[in-house]
Subunit: 189 residues, 3 copies
């Protein structure tokens, strides 16, 4: 888990690929379970996702990682092992949102809020990571609401109570944003 230092180009590429693969994997859970549906015909698909989805997620994760690098995050040193734990925790949480899609929304939002808070506390409980996590928790769902408004995809009931997207979606973005904020330094060296 130590290995050599990566160049900036390699680090950025690795983070984009990790984000895209995590997005593909989690989205496969959402589509397979019927939590979400793609509505546009004729768009090429990878696994279960429209091709634009992993590109957007990879880009968003890279953007959060670059913002975190600029802000000097993580405030506590995180290494590749920590990154592995953090990425696995976010993917586990992503798939658990699919598993619990019919759950009462109070229960889901409390559960995923607590898990998101635990991930932030474990990873880097600093104001900087909090700012990026909160930014992700706002911008991610807003972007998905716009995608739903465009008619490209939809969340199915009962997971559509937040302007057409799932009420627990900000929690998932918060967790992903927390980990992404420190990924550059954790993976580069």
């Amino acid at each position: 888990m130590d290995g050599r230092t990566l160049s900036n180009r390699q680090t950025g590429l690795l983070i984009f690929v990790i984000g895209a693969l995590a997005g593909l994997t989690g989205d496969a859970c959402h589509v397979a379970s019927g939590t979400t549906e793609y509505l546009w015909d004729g768009v090429p698909t990878i696994w279960r996702s429209a091709i634009w989805f992993p590109v957007l997620v990879g880009g968003a994760v890279l953007g959060a990682a670059l913002a975190g690098r600029r802000a000097g995050l993580p405030a506590r040193t995180r290494d590749r092992r920590d990154a592995g734990i953090g990425i696995a925790a976010v993917i586990a949480m992503y798939s658990l949102t699919a598993a619990l899609r019919f759950e009462d929304m109070t229960v889901s939002v409390v559960l995923f809020s607590a898990l998101a808070a635990a991930i932030w506390f474990c990873w880097d409980p600093s104001p900087g990571a909090l700012a990026i996590a909160l930014g992700a928790a706002i911008l991610g769902p807003v972007a998905e609401i716009l995608i739903v408004q465009l008619g490209a995809s939809q969340y199915t009931a009962p997971s559509d109570g937040l302007f057409g997207v799932a009420p627990w979606l900000p929690c998932l973005y918060f967790a992903a944003g927390s980990v992404a904020s420190g990924l550059w330094s954790a993976l580069q060296r």
Copy 2:
């Protein structure tokens, strides 16, 4: 997550408030999911709980924290970041009991026993913390059985198999008691 040292009064108040809020949050999951029901009319409610519930939980958490302080717990140093992880883990477990309320009770009791053991091992696997956790695992369910006997609330089937309360309830109290036992020292400084 460092910040300044708290006075004894501030620490006690903070622990009471954390306990009351955690109780309110978890209880909202139990009530929203139909795991539990309040039966007395005319009692003021906060969120989903009768007003006496968060007061009892806050007091119990403070009591466990004071007992832990007297016993010199935690045996290993725990800081505010650790406290955040521990509190989030207990709330996540609390909401998960609501999410899995229809699960076979063997499965639930094994799952929540394992999670409670993991929380104790992570937080402070000392004999002192074990004693307080076991005390909570006995006293908490006994208190809830009395409340059910009084007719103030009830657990619904199939989560009522332990003298009217849920068979996994001791696991939840064990986890909460573990963390509470070291909360004073973790939060004060």
Copy 3:
């Protein structure tokens, strides 16, 4: 959690007993929930398991621990507290496979893959532990497929899609193999 050093005989016996008890506990969840069924009549049972099951699991865990000892694992020092966390995490995951038995298999496999990866990263993310975990992820399900072919037990739909056993079964063996690989050194001293 410190205590005295164990002899080789004591360590081996302890690991066998831990494996057998973890197997009994997890299997009780699978049988109680109907995830698996025993088909041979007249075999003595312990709790919910045919008597040969905990013996096989205890032996397999001991075998993995001995292989890990020979390979000098774990690569990072793990103590008895770590062992407690790891064992509890594997049992929690085992019972969660029972709780989510009707879940879409894409969701289950992603969830349990992520949890297995997180356990490996937390416990000992070394090539040696990976080799033993992967060996367990292959040999364990193959052994269970043979047992199903013999007619001794079966997995019920929809948890029977991998040659008669559950598609998430390799994830569970991977997690168990990860932790078992470092158990000798963690428990002996």
